[in-house]
Amino acid sequence: MISNDMTWYMIILSALLINNIVLIRFLALCSFFGVSNKLETSIGMGMAVIFVMAIASSASWILWTYLLLPLKLEFLRTATFILVIAALVQLIEMYLRKAMPALYQAMGIYLPLITTNCAVLAVALLIIDYNLGFLNSLIYTIAVAVGYTLAIILFAGIRERINIAPIPEFLKGYPIIFITASLMSMAFLGFSHLFGL
């Protein structure tokens, strides 16, 4: 659990390693299994997720604090957040295509995928649940996104080796990938209770 009275490095450690968003909290699995077959694409996806997540959760924090809470519209939370995220991704895509073509080339194709990435919505909801202040929620969001990037890059490296390894016929494809993810998750589980978190 994250709370406001934790120091910034404890928030980062908790989000990055101890409660890693993919391997421990089971979020963003679709893209984790979907685009991790090459190291290059997973780096691009990771960068895009960091970028979008930081903007999306700041926007939803501001909306929640200054619009939904004062107007007592808490029940609109889920609907508002998902629409804001979908619209934001569209805007970011248009802006990047126009203003920064090089960056768009590097991560443009991953942007539409992020709308359906459940981790973005999950983080927007979690910072509200944890009652974090703006700065803490930004730190938490970026740490979560870096945790995602770390996990997907490590996983892509392993998958490139799996592709050339001899594997029993009935485990080829998804089964062996899940078993690999299980072993990685076990490694990350080793971080639990670090510093009493």
């Binding site: 089971f26 979908a86 909801l125």
Partner: protein
């Protein structure tokens, strides 16, 4: 495709989790116990059926260009209903499922069925499709939960009744109800499913 095929499609041939490999996040995250998994299955099934009905009913007036935002609004309405109902009816289950209750809105199974089926078919077929897919999802996620709970804790509880208890002598392998167990059991469930299909055809 006749009505019966529409109904059974989601349970076996196009099982959303095992064959199409979508809806993974909730499947793995809530399968630590059969009870939580079953609750998640029911919640997702309700949203799936209700959104299929509504999307299919308004499909003739839905402009093609903005159909996805419309689907999302319809789905999130039903998710909010589930969210508040579950909070009132079963607070323990609600606390266990946590952020995954509002996250039903981004469950690819629901948006996927809206796009691939309800938007193109009549209301009655869409209900059947919703029920079939819902059963397929609930069965898979509950099986996963039951397997993990037996090995990891020696019990199976469903709807808060203890169905099975292996007793004191059983030494549970705790890892199965921890996160790595979810990936492991899922991998072997997929391999097993593949063997079954291979043997049949």
């Amino acid at each position: 495709m006749n009505r019966w095929q529409v109904f059974t499609n989601g349970i076996l041939k196009e099982n959303p989790v095992l064959i199409l490999v979508i809806g993974l996040c909730p499947t793995l995250a809530v399968s630590g116990s059969a009870n939580d998994a079953f609750g998640m299955g029911l919640a997702a099934t309700f949203v799936l059926i209700a959104s299929n009905i509504l999307i299919s009913a308004v499909r003739k007036w839905t402009p093609d260009q903005i159909r996805i935002p419309i689907f999302i609004i319809i789905i999130s309405t039903f998710v909010t209903i589930v969210d508040y109902t579950m909070h009132a009816a079963d607070p323990v289950l609600y606390a266990n499922l946590g952020v995954f209750v509002p996250l039903i809105v981004v469950n690819c199974i629901i948006l996927g069925r809206a796009e691939a089926f309800a938007y193109k078919n009549d209301v009655f077929s869409s209900i059947l499709d919703g029920i079939g897919m819902g059963i397929g999802f609930t069965l898979t996620v509950t099986t996963l939960g039951a397997v993990r709970e037996i090995i990891g804790n020696g019990t199976v509880t469903l709807l808060n009744y203890e169905l099975l208890n292996l007793g004191e002598g059983f030494k549970p392998a705790l890892i199965f109800i921890l996160p790595p167990g979810a990936f492991l059991v899922m991998g072997f469930l997929m391999a097993f499913n593949r063997l079954l299909i291979k043997r049949k055809g």
